[in-house]
Structures are given as C-alpha cells and as structure tokens.
Amino acid sequence: MEEPVLVLDQVSFHYGYRLVLEDINLTVWPGDFLGIVGPNGSGKSTLLKIILRLLRPSQGQVSLFGQSQEKFHQWTKIGYVPQNATSFHHGFPATVQEVVLSGLTASLGLFKRPGVKGQRRVSEALEQVGVAELRNRVIGELSGGQQQRVLIAKALVSRPALLILDEPTVGVDLAAQEQFYNLLLELRKAEGMTLILVSHDVGVITEHVCSVACLNRKLYFHGAPADFWAKDCLGQTYGSAARVLRHAH
C-alpha cells in the first residue's frame, strides 16, 4: 500500500497562551492537490510552518513520507514557496539563474558547489515553469507572476516530491493566476508531484484543487471541493458574513 506524504496526528499549537491550532488530523496522499483555506489568522501559515518544522507543535505528531518528523532528514523532497515571496526581492541583485541555482544549496550540502549537472537542472526547472528566456534578468525587475514562476523553479530544482506554496497568488494579476494554476496542474500530471497550497481566496482555489481543508483554529472540513460547497463549510468556518463572499463569486 502507498505511504501517505503527510500525516498530522492531533496537532495543536500555542503562541504563548493563545491556541492557534487545535487537534488537527490530516492525511495527504501522493499525487493529491490540497488547498488549505481559512480566514486571516486562522492558523494556515502556522500549520505550514509546523509541517516544515519551522515551528514545533505543542502537542501531536507530524509524519513526512512515512517517517516521524524528528527522524526525517530528506528536506530536499519538499519544495517550499513562502508567503509574499514576490514582495521582498525588489532590489536584490541576483539574476533568475542565480536565484534558481540557490535552490540546490540544501541538496548539495556544505562546501560543495553546483557543477554542470546543477546548471542543467536549473535550465530544466526554468523550462518547466516557462521562464527560460528570463534567465539573465534581475529578479526584482520581473512582474509578480514571473517572479512567482522563478520561485517555483527554485523550489523544483532539487526535484521535490511535495511542493508547498503559501498564498502564492498574492500580488499576481488574474490572468497570470489562471496560468499559474495551469502550471501547477501540469506539474502534478507530469511529475506526479503532491501539492499543498494555502490561500484565503476560497472561490478561486476550490476551482482548481482536488481536495480542500478548511481551517479556523480547528479543521472544519477535509474533502472534495464539491462537498465543501454542498455542506456549506464556508459559513461554519468564516461565520455568516462569508456567505456574501460566496455569492460574489
């Protein structure tokens, strides 16, 4: 039987006395495209940080690729594109190629340099996300959508099996967003990659993902997008004001 990519078992997290996540149980299988949605401050980014071990859960267990997180060392199997990634690179003096090459840092280990093979991986990753012609441009000069693709190429260059994206479409215009989701679907199809994407934009995300996890401190729902709408999970998670939002879509 296939091993789950990620298992969260009764995970809770406190920031000081504030309970941010409570008793989260979630299993992600290979090839899944999971969208985690929830209002601002619902603990979405915290949950991602726990998965990536940037934060330790106050309670509960996290397993990655069938191993408990404490014993897990193959972090290069996980690609991560952080939140607002596009906003702080203006003025950073690096070309697209230099940025994508830096994605190999962890897999190479200390003191080793990327050789010809590394350069080839960079070219492949840039081709994959469709920005090969931008390789010598400075990252800060690109549009939000282009930067987003470069950062995905940086995550892809070490050939991860799981790609995690935190609010990837913030600051990206609508047309580019559509292309961006198509790119993710292609990656999933071509590489069999598992995707986890966090967004507050419920309407758009549920159109593209295979499963939805609805989070507001607790996990209110985890299942197919159609069931998500049928069970009116949005109203339960966001409160009644969210219905207006739903009709707006």
Partner: protein, 296 residues
C-alpha cells in the same frame, strides 16, 4: 608631468617597510570588507558592524589597560561578543535587532569604563579610533593576513548558503540548510573582519568601508556576481587612492579612504541616474540604500 612624479613618489615610498605594510594591510582589508559587506547589506544587518566596532574599542582599551597586545584583546572580545550575540539571538528569536542593540550597549559602555580606568585618553586608543595605517607593525600585518585569509576561506566555503539565507532565510531553513550554523560562522567572520580593519581605517569608519563599496556596486550591478566584482573593485580603488591622497596631502588615511569610497558611490549613483548604467532604479533599491545609510 606632475601626476607621473607623484606616482614615482609612491613607488619610492614603497621602498619603506612601513609603507609596504600599510599597502599590504590596506589591500587585505579592501578584499575583506566587501566580502562580508555584501551579505551584511543584503540582509540589512548594518548595525552588526556598529556592534563589533564598539566591542573592538572596548577590546583595545582592555589591551592598553592590561598591557596585552590590543589587537589580540580586540579579537578575543569580539569573538566573545559574537558568542553572546548568538545566545541572545536564540533566546529572543523574534527580536533579532534587540540582541544587536544589547551588544552595542555592552561594547560602548565597557569601552567608556575601560578608557576612564586608563585615566587619560590614551594615544594608542586614539590610533585605533581613527586608524593608523602607517603605524602598522609586522605583528599587526601578520595577524591581519593570517586571520584575513581564514575569513576569506570561510566565506568562500559558505557562499552558496550565505546567498540563499540573504535571499530568503525562512525558505533556506525550510529547505534544510543549516542556517543557525552558517549564521554563527558568519558572525565570527564579521567580528574578525571588523577587528582587523580597524587598524587601517579606524573603529569609527570600519562599518563605512563595509557598506559603502557595496552600496556603490548595487547602483551598477545586474547580478550577484557582478555586485561582488564591483564591490571588490571599488574597495580596492578606495583604499589605494585613499592612501595615495592621504600620503600626498598629509591627511588622515582612514578618512581619505572612506571619503574616496563615498566619491565612488556618488559617481556610481549619478551614472545610474543620468547614463542609465545598471538599469532603472526601483523602489527596492531605494530601501536597501536607506538601510545602508543607517550603517554609516
């Protein structure tokens, strides 16, 4: 030709041991400062330069007071402060600059107390404060070259880690890069660079030589590699031209070096604005420029 005569004069001066030591130490510092500076500027850590200069001053005062070789006590105290900074940073992870602020206070208060204990504003302390490149001894030069090569080797070995941490520290951590280890080693490299450089440009001006050549390079560069190359070039020109001017016009070498680097920065900024070299100036470059301003 007056310029030719001046160049010849410099060659004549180079026959003297103290001049050879001045230029050798100056060139090492011109390589060290931008090597550290490029990462300090991109990570907006200019305050760390201030911190180690203050701690070095305390170290020098300690050496003068106790009769130990001041450069050695400065290196020792800086490494102690580097360790203290790491401990504070881990304790107050959310407030990185609070840790630096605490260490700045530690450095300057200790320096003031030690200088007051020395009863008078000692001439040796004055030399370290403003730089005394022509008073560099063989022992100084040896220490500067050995530790300098060590710092260069360390940064060269860690350059891909330092790049990704400067670009996105959290992302680097998530990818499994050993961020804490690399940061700790970088702080040690910074401490050593500042302590070694103060003999040449003086404690008050060290952080300028770390940030200004990089600031000038950022005006023109179109990649990380180009930024590094320009920064080295500008720092070399600043040190050599600065020393040349200082000897010729009998000015303070440290000040001449930093003023030269500021002149280069002005030329670079103007070429970008009027000649369009280095591309259009965008919002982010201006932010980085401001961060450097604080470090001066």
């Amino acid at each position: 030709m007056p310029i030719r005569i001046e160049v010849l004069e410099i060659f004549e001066l180079l026959e003297y041991g103290f001049m050879q030591r001045a230029f050798a130490a100056g060139l090492m510092v011109a390589v060290l400062c931008p090597t550290i500076g490029i990462f300090i500027v991109l990570r907006r850590l200019s305050m760390i330069g201030e911190m180690f200069s203050h701690v070095s001053l305390a170290g020098v005062a300690l050496g003068v007071l106790s009769g130990v070789y001041p450069l050695a006590t400065a290196v020792g105290l800086s490494l102690f402060a580097a360790a203290g900074l790491e401990v504070l940073r881990r304790t107050y992870r959310m407030f990185g600059d609070l840790a630096i602020a605490c260490m700045v206070s530690f450095g300057i208060s200790l320096a003031v107390v030690l200088i007051s204990l020395a009863q008078a504003f000692n001439l040796a302390i004055f030399f370290y404060l403003f730089g005394s490149v022509i008073a560099i001894t063989g022992q100084d030069l040896q220490l500067i070259l050995i530790l300098g090569i060590l710092v260069l080797a360390l940064v060269y070995a860690l350059q891909k880690e330092l790049f990704i941490i400067a670009f996105d520290e959290e992302g680097a951590r998530a990818a499994g890069v050993r961020v804490d280890l690399v940061n700790a080693l970088f702080v040690v490299a910074t401490a050593l660079t500042i302590t070694l450089s103060m003999r040449v440009v003086g404690i008050l001006l060290v952080s300028s030589l770390i940030t200004v050549p990089v600031a000038a390079a950022l005006q023109l560069s179109r990649s990380f590699r180009a930024t590094a190359c320009y920064a080295y070039l500008f720092a070399m020109i600043s040190v050599l031209l600065g020393l040349f001017i200082a000897f010729h016009a009998d000015l303070a070498p440290g000040g001449s070096i930093v003023l030269t680097s500021l002149g280069i920065f002005a030329i670079a900024a103007l070429s970008r604005k009027f000649l369009g070299i280095g591309g259009e100036r965008d919002e982010g470059t201006r932010i980085i420029g401001t961060a450097e301003g604080k470090g001066l």
